[in-house]
Amino acid sequence: MLDFVTIEDSLGGPASRGPERPGPADQVRGRLDAVLIAARAAPLTTHIGLVPTAVVTHTEPFHISKAIATLDFVSTGRAGLRVQVSGRPQEAAHFGRRAFPHVRLEDRADPVVQELVAGLFAEAADYIEVVRRLWDSWEDGAEIRDVATGRFVDRAKLHYIDFAGDYFAVKGPSITPRPPQGQPIVSALAHHAAAYQMVARSADVGYVTPRDAGDARSAVAEIRAGQRAAGRAAETVHIFGDLVVFLAGTAAAAADRKARLDELAGRELTSDAAVFTGTPAQLADLLQDWQAGGLSGFRLRPGAISHDLDAITAGLVPELQRRGAFRKAYESGTLRGLLGLARPASRYATA
């Protein structure tokens, strides 16, 4: 009864060790297109939201907009999108259209990095704007099938979006009608100010990576301030905390599992998100503590899918339900519905 599943994607070799090598032969390599995986899963599921990742730096907003709209049709209202930027030279070389300097994006004080990051997020914000306008470019009810006048559509309800920005221009309208949710949800992972601002201005869901409840509180405050500055104070923007979780019946057993996996990997697991080991009840305690910091949900990353996803659904979920902190049945057939978001009117509707 989880709200949604996100599907990672990348247009590069995974686990990059630098510009030259994609990763050692002992690491898993290979990744299918996330939108296609989500589409393949849609007819096999009935309630869960499907949120694939799109790398906006190298893809076309027109293509992604219709792809997510179509995912919304094939899932009857359960589609979302996670946008991701990429400043890696190795990925840029797969497209050959632009070159990025070899820098560590973590070196945020470096002015070259600052400029690169600012540009990537400005482009991402434009991308989301185009994707959203295209979803609205067919008003609801544009398809009239009026046999008497011979008209299939009411062209007054189809709109050029006429977007022109620094990175691309898109005319519109979409070739795909307005999707069932009107606006499928847009989400992004945010680690720093530029990403917080993008979430505040453009997203429905932001994923943050706090180390504790205080950290969560300050990330939430920064995004809320950004929302106010963008005139979106009244709109719901969910802020989800990301956590890597290793679960077991006892805290010691969970820690042992993680230690054994670290030993097999030859190094300790590092992550942008906090790593939790413990029992489902301990995890529930932590989630409720962080929730008090202003988070409205959590994106749990199973340490090992085969074990920890089961532990989340069979251990954590019943624990949270006992505490009255999690749904006992799906209350909506759409992802917007599960997130408490109303279906918006098209921005182009005049009536």
Binding site: D26, E60, R155
Partner: protein, 458 residues
């Protein structure tokens, strides 16, 4: 000694966004809802068809400066629909039209390799090109190509994508837990390609898919298009549905293969075809005429005439005679986003033929347009349609047909129930799938391993 009968290949084309698709019929359903795609795909799979085919459009069509509203408008995203259909079908091939002008090889190769994995080896790619700035207004590059460069870019695009597909040989993933080895070859996926259009290098991140790469379709009819197909396609989606034109096209294209070091069985010729069934021949003809009248309303007749005349003819009466005025010989600007307009290569000569025919037979504008555009390929009882299809294939006018129903989504139901069993009785169409992959359905030999094929070719 008679040669054994050729096996027929059949495919289903999801009804498109032109006037072939009759939306005003009460049986007509959504062209967007997934249930429509499921219906057609399941019908085709029950009938043991080779594949389902989706066309693509990247800008809504316009005429007289406005969005064209008389035909079906709007379609979903090709890849997303095909991946979802992979979940509800088991054997049916899944063919998608994807433009090589407004995409990049790395992304498209990933999408097709992913679709091939997600469908267990059932993906096909109809490679199309376009050069118009009108469509380009929806894309990053905005750009367009000089007309003569579009096949050049398409060839480079397909070559690049092929190198990406072949960058994984197959079998690299050993995932040996005891030895702690995931990949047998650390270089799997490595590629470098440089030409006038694409200068890219790195690692392709989708391991080799069940078919090695998608089955490649080509749809152009020009000399360049035929040459492109003869060099690199597995099948041609053509439009020559009459016996003589089909035989001429078939002989021409198959004749080009040897020059590219290929054999005649390495390229299938699959024209698009429409059909109308009836309990009797007379009933079928009557049905066909009624469908043509649905397809060509008075308004539609004027619009189709404008596409040749390159003029606003909205003041003319569709039930009256053809205009006295000649077509405007300037560049065609009346209709945009429509490939068929480019088929009018000599508008003056075509207009003269149409006038002569209208005068000789006393036809109004609408009656003439009904006669000169889009006549159905096969009209008759299930028995005669089965016989005609078989005759065309055995006489080398094609290797089969991509059937285009005029009703969404039930337009194939009757054909599947009535005609397919007759072809099966004749022993010229499968009664069950023999293979799992689309290559197997099409009788194409398996591909060699990736990297070895790439090395041999270079």
């Amino acid at each position: 000694m008679t040669k054994p009968a050729k096996q027929i290949h059949l495919a289903a084309h999801f009804p498109g966004v032109n006037n072939t698709t009759v939306w005003s019929d009460r049986r007509s359903g959504s062209q967007i809802d997934f249930s429509s795609f499921v219906h057609l795909a399941k019908t085709a799979e029950r009938a043991k068809f080779d594949f389902l085919f989706l066309a693509e459009g990247l800008r809504l069509r316009e005429q007289n400066g406005q969005i064209y509203d008389l035909d079906v408008v709007g379609r979903p995203d090709t890849f997303t629909v095909l991946a979802a259909l992979a979940a509800v079908t088991d054997r049916l091939g899944l063919a998608g039209t994807i433009n090589s002008t407004f995409n990049e090889p790395y992304e498209v190769a990933r999408q097709f390799a992913s679709l091939d994995h997600l469908s267990g080896g059932r993906a096909a790619w109809n490679v199309v090109t376009s050069w118009d700035a009108f469509t380009g207004e929806n894309f990053r590059r905005g750009g367009f190509l000089p007309q003569e460069a579009r096949y050049e870019r398409a060839r480079a695009f397909l070559q690049t994508a092929t190198e990406l597909f072949d960058s994984w040989r197959g079998g690299e993933i050993v995932a040996d837990k005891q030895a702690g080895v995931f990949l047998a070859d650390d270089d799997a996926g490595r590629f470098a390609h440089a030409d006038a259009y694409f200068d890219i290098q790195g690692w392709f991140n989708v391991p080799r898919s069940p078919q090695g790469r998608p089955v490649i379709f080509q749809a152009g009819d020009s000399d360049e298009g035929r040459e492109f197909a003869a060099a690199s396609a597995d099948a041609i989606f053509s439009r020559h549905a009459t016996l003589e034109a089909g035989q001429a096209f078939y002989a021409d294209v198959k004749g080009r293969l040897a020059r590219h070091g290929r054999t005649r069985d390495q390229l299938l010729i699959l024209p698009a075809a429409t059909f109308v069934l009836g309990d009797t021949e007379a009933q079928a003809r009557e049905n066909a005429h009624e469908i043509r009248r649905q397809q060509v309303s008075g308004q539609t007749a004027i619009k189709l005439l404008e596409q040749l005349w390159n003029r606003d003819l909205s003041g003319y009466d569709p039930d009256g005679p053809l205009p006295e005025i000649d077509p405007d010989p300037a560049e065609n600007t009346i209709a945009r986003g429509r490939a068929s307009v480019r088929m009018h290569r000599d508008p003056m000569a075509t207009a003269a033929q149409w006038r002569a025919r209208a005068q000789a037979q006393g036809l109004s504008i609408r009656e003439l347009i009904i006669e000169v555009t889009g006549r159905q390929s096969f009209i008759g009882t299930p028995g005669t349609v089965a016989e005609t299809i078989n005759r065309f294939v055995q006489a080398d006018a094609s290797d089969g047909f991509i059937l285009v129903p005029h009703i969404t989504p039930g337009g194939l139901d009757e054909f599947a129930a009535e005609v397919v069993p007759l072809l099966q009785e004749r022993g010229v169409f499968r009664t069950d799938y023999e293979g799992r992959t689309l290559r197997e359905h099409l009788g194409l030999a398996p591909l060699a391993d990736g990297s070895s094929a790439a090395r041999a070719a270079s």
